[in-house]
Symmetry: C2
Subunit: 215 residues, 2 copies
Amino acid sequence: MSIPCDESTTAVTGPRLVAEPHKDGVDAAVDAARRVVTALLRAGDGTGADMNGIAARLDAVADGLTEKASSMETRLAEMWRGEGITRHDPVTGPENALAPPLHLHGKEDGSVEGVVTLGLPYQGPPGHVHGGISALLLDHTLGVANHWGGLSGMTAELTLRYLRPTPLFEPLTVTGRQISVDGSRIRTVGEIRAGGHVCVTAAGLFIDKQLPRPS
Amino acid sequence: MSIPCDESTTAVTGPRLVAEPHKDGVDAAVDAARRVVTALLRAGDGTGADMNGIAARLDAVADGLTEKASSMETRLAEMWRGEGITRHDPVTGPENALAPPLHLHGKEDGSVEGVVTLGLPYQGPPGHVHGGISALLLDHTLGVANHWGGLSGMTAELTLRYLRPTPLFEPLTVTGRQISVDGSRIRTVGEIRAGGHVCVTAAGLFIDKQLPRPS
């Protein structure tokens, strides 16, 4: 295994740019759902666990929640209420079990940074992060970097370069920085590092427009 | 590797290039876990559901599975046994609740294609697919297109162009095709279409090498 890297002991400072997770309520249930997703992958079919029984228990949880849910229109409007950061995206969202989640902070030099360790659900090549998961983390981080930089937009183009495999089970540092604004065209870069080495770089072109929030 | 053709799950014909989901065992539990992930996002904190009770029920499922699991080394070796397609990736894997899952089929013209409808967990802009999720689907699809084309590799570079927002809740057609092999350099393209319109295109450079499978 690799030598421990500095990221594991260096806390990222600066204002938090993504939603703060709560210790109870839906965030706690989502945290537990993340544990289930990982545990199912970890177990597979060879453990003798009563998977049909587990399926029934999980279906009962889903059924109970779905019965209580409001209409999709109401829920979408609720998700997007206000102008602030959202809680549901698949990268940072405390309400989304797909999100690792990545906690991004704004730094005084204009960049954003977060540290995350990814487990089995994010695997592509053996023992390493799926290239598309790196793309997902970076696309989102570049978007947050635009927010921190003062002008946000929608992704028009994103180029990823994979310099070396990105390891699972080790702290990854994900960074982003807006580098230029030319009219409505925003250029932003970012990277994922592990153990001091750059694994993936991203360069994005964003356009200063937003889809309307549902109401 | 056996490649059963399952036309019941999608209108796309041609040999299935990704793992076949089973109706019971871990795949059924993972399907139920997907329902939980979606239901938690759908419910949020406003329904009066007993979220701490749900967290406890989910934690109990995770704890039970984790107790029965073999060591990580054993599990990784098991995941990667043989030369065939895997069951755990975050795009097509029937054992991974992060995967929608996307079912890809090989076509006679050399391309691969799958149809998938994405819900709330995959949201980026309001009512639309997260740009990084489109990147994840396309990176994986290009990899499967390389497999179908006869020479696979690791992603070295991936460029995505976002032509229009990709809708949630509507069938998306995801395609990929290997276009050239020059020594170890493989070039592959793909796109995501909705309602006959191209939403996202991808162009990838892959290098003909693989990380060793754990044993």
